[in-house]
Symmetry: none
Subunit: 183 residues, 4 copies
C-alpha cells in the first residue's frame, strides 16, 4: 500500500478532499481519524502533511478563499459574479461558513487558527470588486456576507442554495449563477 514518495502529492490532495467532505458532513470538529480513513491513508501520513488539526482546517479554507480571489482577479469580473463564487463555497463548505461568520467570533476561535488572515483576504477580494459599483456601502459588504452565511442552513445542498439566494435578495444584492471558479 505504501506507494513511496511519488504518492505524496496525491495523498495530500486526497486528504484535503476528504477533509472537505468530512467537515461538510460532520462539522469542523470531526475526528481526524475519519479524514485519514476517507482519504485512504494512515493517520501518520495525515500528520506528516499537516502539523495539527488547525492546519487541515486552514488548508481547506485556503482553497475556498483562493477561488474567491481568482474569481475576483478574473478579467472583467463583476461583483455579482464574485459573490456567486463565494456563495457557491458557502453552500458547499460548512467550514467556509464558519470562517466568514466567526472571523472575530468569541466562540471556537481557537479552531479557526489563521481565520483572521483568510477573512481579510476575502474582504480584499470583494473590495476590489466594489469600486464604483457599490450596491452596498463598502463597509457593509463583509457584514452582508456574514449575514448570508448565517442564513445558509439546511440539510441539502438545494436548501442551502435557495436560502442563500433569498438572503441576498433580501439585502437587495444581485448575485450571478452560483458556481465554483472556474465554472
Amino acid at each position: 500500500m505504501n506507494q513511496g514518495p511519488r504518492a505524496a502529492a496525491r495523498n495530500r490532495a486526497a486528504l484535503v478532499a476528504a477533509a472537505r467532505e468530512v467537515y461538510a458532513e460532520l462539522g469542523l470538529d470531526a475526528p481526524m481519524a475519519e479524514i485519514a480513513r476517507r482519504a485512504g491513508v494512515g493517520q501518520g501520513s495525515l500528520y506528516r502533511h499537516f502539523p495539527d488539526r488547525d492546519a487541515v482546517v486552514a488548508t481547506v479554507l485556503e482553497e475556498n478563499v483562493v477561488q474567491v480571489e481568482q474569481a475576483a482577479a478574473a478579467e472583467g469580473a463583476t461583483l455579482a459574479e464574485v459573490l456567486a463564487v463565494l456563495t457557491w463555497h458557502l453552500v458547499e463548505s460548512a467550514a467556509f461558513i464558519g470562517l466568514l461568520r466567526a472571523e472575530c467570533a468569541t466562540v471556537r476561535r481557537e479552531e479557526l487558527g489563521r481565520a483572521g488572515e483568510l477573512g481579510e483576504r476575502v474582504e480584499r477580494a470583494l473590495r476590489g470588486e466594489l469600486r464604483d459599483r457599490g450596491q452596498l456601502p463598502a463597509d457593509s459588504l463583509m457584514l452582508a456576507v456574514a449575514m448570508v452565511s448565517g442564513a445558509v442552513t439546511g440539510p441539502t445542498r438545494e436548501d442551502r442554495e435557495r436560502r442563500a439566494l433569498e438572503a441576498w435578495a433580501l439585502l437587495g444584492v444581485e448575485v450571478g449563477p452560483v458556481r465554483p471558479f472556474p465554472g
Copy 2:
C-alpha cells in the same frame, strides 16, 4: 461546601447562569464539568437538576425564548420592540444564536435536541407581531433573523450589539432599543 437542600434552588439557578456563561465562552459543546465547576457545585448536582446535556441547553434556550414570547404578548407590543428583545438575547447568548441559525442545520442538530420546537415558538411569537405591519414579507422574517444571527459576532458585548443593529439596518428593519424583557 455542601449547603444542604435549602440551596437547591440557588444551585439550579447558578447552574443555568454558569451554563449560559460557559456556552458563550466555549460554545455549546463545552464540557459539563466546566459548568458544574463554575456554578460551584459537584457534577452530580448538575445531573440531579438536569438529566443530560440537552436538558441544560434547552433550559438556557428556554429562558431566551420565553422572554421573546413575553415581549410579544405584552400589551401594545410592536415588532420593533419584540425584535429588540430578540436582539438582546442574540447579543448575550451564543446558544440562542445557534438556535436561530441551526433550526434546520445539517450539522450538530443533535446537540440542540428540542431546538426545533423552540425555534418554532420564536417564529410564532414574531408572526403574531407581524400582522398588517410587515416591513418584511412574513415568510422572510425568520430568514432575516437567521441573517442577523449570522452577523452577531465579536469579542465584546458592544461589538455584537453594534453589528446586530447594523445588520437590521441593512435589511431596512426598524428595531427598538436593545434590552431584555421586561426592560
Copy 3:
C-alpha cells in the same frame, strides 16, 4: 410525607420488599436509589435502616434463610418439603441463588458479606432433615443445592420453576410442591 417514628417499621419492611423486587429484576448490583424509590422513601431513610449495601442484601437473604429454617423446624417436616420451600426461594430470588452458589465463590464475594454464615444456616437446616432418610449422602446435599441453583435460569417464574424441578429430578431427589413457608 414524613409520618414520624411510627412509620419506621413500615418503612423498613417496604425497603426489604422493594429490595427483593429490585434484586430479582435488576440483579444484585442494582442501584440503591432504585430500592429507595420503589419503597417510597428517601435515600437517607434507606441508609438509616441499613448501614450499607451489604446489609440490605444480607437482610433479604436472611428472610429467605429464615423460611427454610422454619420449614425445617416444622412438626413432621420431610426433606422433600424443606427442599420445596428452598426451591421456591431459589425461583423467586436471584439473591438467594447467588448465596447458595457463591458461598465460597471467588467472584463477587465482597457483595455477599455475611453469606458464609447464612449458607451454613441453610446447610444446618437441611442436615437436620437428612437423618436416616438420605436419598443423597449428607456431604453431597449442599453440592446438590448449588447444582440446582445453577440450573435456575430463565426469564419467567415458570421457566425457572420448571428447570429447578428438572434439575432435582436429574439428581433423583424427590421434592414436594414448590411453595413458600408457611404455604
Copy 4:
C-alpha cells in the same frame, strides 16, 4: 513503554489473557481499565483491539467454546473426553461459567452479548457426542452442564475442579481427566 506496531499481536494476546484473569477475579463487570492495566497497555489500545466491552467478553468466551468444539470434532472423541475439556474451562474461566448458566437468564443478559450464539455452539458440540451413547437424555445435557456450572465455586483451582467432578458424579455422568484441548 511503547514497543511499536510489532507488539500488536502480543498486546492483543496479553489483553485476552488479562481479561480472563480479571474476569475470574472480579467478575464479568470488572473495569475495563483494570484489564488494560494488567495487560500493560493503555486503555486506548484495548479499544483499538476490541470495539467495546462485549467484544472482550465474547473473545474470551470464544476461546473456551472453540476448544470444546475442537475436542468434540477430534477423531474418536467420546462424550467423557469432551465433557472433560468443558469442565476444564469451567474450572478456569468464570466467564465461561456465566455463559453456560446465563444463556437464558433474565438478568444481565445484555452483558453477555453474543452469549446465546456461543451457548448454542456448545450445545451443538455436545449433542454430536451424545448419539447412541447417552448416559443422559439428550434434552437434559445442557441442563446438566448448567448444574455443574452452578457447582463450580471455590477460591482455588483445586477446589473448583474437585467440586465439578463431584457434581458430575452426582449426576452419574462419567468424565475423563480434566484438561484443556489439545491436552
